[in-house]
């Protein structure tokens, strides 16, 4: 990932070139069952992989939010006990200045959670507004989308590095940089569905009744274009976690004193021969997190696939 890549998580976010992301056939959801509308929990747990994804996400959420209760002080240095192998006192060993790796990994989950969530909020706020405006007002379509195309012409990680170079190292700047990278991708998806929804008869009806543009967009267009976008949330989250780790690993992300999985890995790289645990534990944490998000995202996409959206919206009405 590179982080897309950073690698871009699979087959989501359509590309700037207007190449449609390859369609992946909905693999689950026999139609008639979902018509009756089982609860969300049932839908999620019906497929084992989705349930596993949800479980991993829950694990990360708990670790992140309860970090102070689970881990010790991630910044406490015990230089005498540096580079110690995992033991009962230090489950994941200690690093080159004697900090407890377990605490650092736990706090790293907190940072990843924060960055992931903040990037999702940021890119959705910017992306949804831009997408709505571009899709709704034809005059704005060209200028807004050309800027988005231009931003998407940069590979994600390269643009993020350049933004970090301009903004300087801090947690907030990491969020802004990654947010800027992913907003155009959200905007694209939103614009696509707005273009369709704008032409529907219920929007026309609302307009005929004299609804103002803003009301129309907020009450009728936006809610109906959200479901394909929401699917993107878990992928944007995963991409954000990956990109943050990559940036921090490269030394251009969060400042070095912030416990981040990327920072731990960057330090671990230097001591890989003496202290492999510095690489293994944060590595496993990243993998499980991204794996969980991808599993969950895949499940969610199949549930909310635009192709079967008819079913979903029917369910919402009943």
């Amino acid at each position: 990932m590179s982080t897309e890549g950073a690698r871009r998580p699979l087959g989501v976010l359509p590309d700037s070139r207007g190449i449609a992301a390859p369609a992946i056939p909905p693999q689950t959801l026999a139609g008639p069952q979902s018509r009756r509308g089982p609860g969300w929990l049932t839908l999620i747990t019906r497929r084992k992989t989705t349930a596993l994804g949800a479980l991993l996400m829950l694990l990360m959420l708990l670790t992140g939010t309860l970090a102070p209760l689970i881990g010790g002080d991630p910044g406490y240095m015990d230089v005498a006990g540096r580079l110690q192998a995992p033991s009962r006192a230090h489950w994941f060993g200690t690093d080159d200045v004697g900090r407890d790796v377990f605490s650092r990994v736990v706090y790293g989950a907190r940072l990843s959670l924060l960055v992931g969530a903040a990037v999702v909020v940021f890119s959705f706020a910017v992306g949804v507004v831009c997408g709505l405006l571009a899709g709704y007002y034809r005059r704005l379509d060209n200028p807004v989308m050309r800027v988005m195309d231009g931003l998407m012409a940069f590979p994600a990680i390269v643009l993020a590095i350049a933004l970090m170079a301009a903004l300087g190292a801090s947690v907030v700047n990491v969020i802004v940089a990654i947010g800027v990278v992913y907003s155009p991708r959200v905007a694209r998806v939103v614009r696509g569905s707005v273009l369709v929804i704008r032409e529907t008869s219920y929007v026309e009806a609302a307009r005929a009744l004299g609804a103002a543009d803003l009301v129309l967009m907020a009450r009728h267009v936006m809610p109906n274009c959200l479901s394909p976008v929401i699917v993107q949330a878990s992928f944007v989250f995963a991409a954000a976690v990956l990109t943050e780790a990559a940036l921090s690993f490269l030394g251009v992300g969060v400042p070095p004193y912030v416990p981040s999985w990327g920072v731990i890995l960057a330090e671990g790289r230097l001591y890989i021969q003496q202290a492999p645990w510095l690489v293994i534990y944060p590595g496993v944490a990243i993998m499980l997190t991204i794996f969980g998000l991808n599993l969950f995202g895949d499940g969610l996409r199949d549930l909310l696939d635009p192709k079967i959206r008819g079913l979903t919206s029917e369910r919402q009405q009943t």
């Binding site: 590179s2 690698r7 699979l10 231009g150 390269v158 780790a245 895949d298």
Partner: protein, 314 residues
Amino acid sequence: MKTYIARRLLALVPVALVVATVAFVLMHLAPGDPASVIAGPDASADDVRRIERQLGLDAPLPVQLVRWYGRLVRGDLGDSIFLRKPVTEAILDRVEPTLLLTLCATLLSVAIGVPAGVISARYHNSATDQAFMVAALLGVSIPNFLLGLLLILCFSVWLGWFPVAGYSPLEYGYLKTLRSLVMPAFALGLVQSALIARVTRSSMLDVLREQFITAGRAKGLAERAVVYKHALKNAMIPTVTIIGISFAILISGAVVVEQVFNIPGLGRLIISAVLRRDYPVIQGVVLCIAGVYMLINLAVDLSYIVFDPRVRYQ
């Protein structure tokens, strides 16, 4: 067809313009102006002013922007602040390892991903299929730099098969270069192969449901011929797209992987430039990679003409 190509080329212009502008704006967003970075901490205000004038930084922003476009058209990316040479030269010095690494990784990801996807689709829903797809999902969950570190740990530290890091330039022999690129290429390409496998599989599955496949089977063709000749050829369109995009993505991924393996490519160049606030170099590398990215995407689009006759007649 000609109009299609012309249209695609024309569509590139506004994007390129935005890209150039973004690169320009980015570096003007940066805290601390380049002039004082060049002049150093002890320079007087007059010195800074003089350097500003030399670099044309005292002109109004729009004027600077227009000059920037002009220089770009001439292929001039400015001079590096620290390396004391033109940025284009600095980039050319570093381009070999990055390109080779990307190329190896792309080949590797295709060599693994396409067969895996085809087999998965042929034995749809079998244990093999599911194992492949879980592996692929695991694959996309490992960031390339992490995979690189794990490979180093496994094959260099524990088994001692490969050098821990470093790069041997082509001039010291192809085999040495290849050997130094094996692990980086795996780290970079494996993730992409997972993506390629997933795309190939789903596109194969779509094609296998088509009528001409049923017709082929009905006329008694061997299953092998149906799958590998008729279906594969038709299923390759999305795959070719993703291979092209892979190459583009992998170039940017190489930026990260180079750091893991200490490969002196474009990635190391841009990271050291960021740490030294060498803005012209950052700008140059970013533009260079974005340019390649755009051109590859254009090539992918144009390749449809070859692979998909339907585009030709539009």
